[in-house]
Symmetry: C2
Subunit: 233 residues, 2 copies
DNA sequence: TCAAAAGTGTTCTGTATACACCCATGG
DNA sequence: CCATGGGTGTATACAGAACACTTTTGA
């Protein structure tokens, strides 16, 4: 193999910010490290890129090992490259953003990695520059969810409109008007009424909907103006 | 220095997509390579990340070497990591997106690198995965310019509203209504009327404006709804 | 029968769009 | 004096926001 003689080689890590939704709050899947370095502290789930794998495949591998899930919504959001970000050795980290349905995870696998779902307001300090990554990821989630219908990735296959509303309220940490939300979301044409009712609730049962996956793909890039944008002058 | 024993080290490259605007079309600054590998072919400007520099500093270094400019608008947009993307050796490439005022560049430096400004429709095929990077960068430019006022980075300090309109028309490859454009852009409050007139034009002279830099910073994230979005249902 | 949550409708207002008219300049 | 391009104004339609009333359910 020919080589570039003068250039420096370094480690390439992959770190994953994994968002979930428990019906009330946005949660992060974090690792309580029982390995070195920084044993005992909290971090994102990560690993090193292998010689024979693409970046996206590396992220999928890491997510699969942790959650037992394939076909997760994953997106690359940034690459961190500060000189001393990993004190052990110069390491570039490619950061991925994943949305998973919190109820579909493989409990065993998650437990085996000593991983825990923590809500954002209870997030402990993380190692290295992982806190910055979480901030970026949250910004990104808000930015993207306002323009594209990716919230569905966090919900079960069948869900009610009030559930969906709670999700958006959690993402943006704001209250939304029930009636306007419902009208807007139905007007997108992305929801299919299953005709069934939610039997969890103790009062009036809300209708269960599912995502129209074909339309979802086609409309993914035409979801603009979804969130209200109060106070923008 | 302690080390992670099992992980693989690899090269980290930086590639820059450099956009400019000549008053009519969006242009790309590309290199006709007079060095190996792929000598004689076209590529993006790039280089390897050094042991003692941050990613952003690396990008700035590369851009400075090529254009003689500092304080350019630069943003990291993606990281390419396909196994065989560089046939010489496994290399990760962090891609940066730069907007420069085409008239402020250091002509000498550009010439010395055998770099040329080519408009998008005349772009030759580029080496490796650089074509994909350009596609991503253009998507990103369109995405971002619709939401944030970054077009100004491509114009001289003082510019006319018709110039600015031509810029947006070039970015989105569409015609805009003169009157609505002018009203909208003035309503943002980002433009300051210098009182001067453009003396380039042969007919009625357009007023010269400059950017209100303070407001620009504050309003950077509240520029939503700027571009018309025809046909979105 | 009552409280809590879900479903539906209406009004108002602001903003985007389409379009018409007038003004300045140089050939 | 006229063609070209720049500047300003107005009517209309549509979408978002605010808000009221009715229905369903289980306790």
């Amino acid at each position: 193999m020919k080589r570039y003689p003068d250039a420096i080689r370094m480690l390439v890590a992959i770190d994953c910010i994994i968002f979930g939704f428990d019906g009330e709050k946005i949660k992060l899947l974090l690792i309580k490290r029982n390995f070195k370095p920084e044993k005992g502290k909290w971090s994102l789930m990560g690993g090193f890129l292998k010689q024979d794998e693409d970046l996206e495949d590396g992220a999928s591998r890491i997510l699969y090992n942790l959650t037992g899930l394939k076909d997760i919504y994953v997106e690359q959001i940034m690459t961190a490259g500060k000189i001393d970000r990993d004190p052990v050795e110069r390491t570039i980290s490619v950061v991925f953003f994943a949305l998973i349905n919190i109820h579909e995870q493989d409990q065993e696998a998650v437990k085996a990695h000593n991983a825990h779902w923590l809500s954002l307001d209870k997030k402990p300090d993380l190692i290295f520059d992982h806190d910055e990554m979480v901030v970026k990821a949250l910004e990104y989630l808000r930015y993207k969810a306002a323009l594209h219908p990716l919230g569905f990735e966090l919900l079960p296959e069948r869900f009610t409109i009030p559930q969906l509303q709670k999700l958006y309220e959690a993402i943006y940490d704001m209250k939304l008007d029930r009636r306007n939300f419902s009208r807007k979301i139905l007007l997108t044409g992305l929801l299919i009424d299953t005709g069934e009712k939610d039997n969890q609730s103790t009062t009036k049962k809300a209708g269960l909907f599912r995502l129209d996956k074909e339309r979802y793909k086609n409309k993914f890039y035409s979801f603009w103006h979804f969130m209200p944008q109060p106070g923008i002058k």
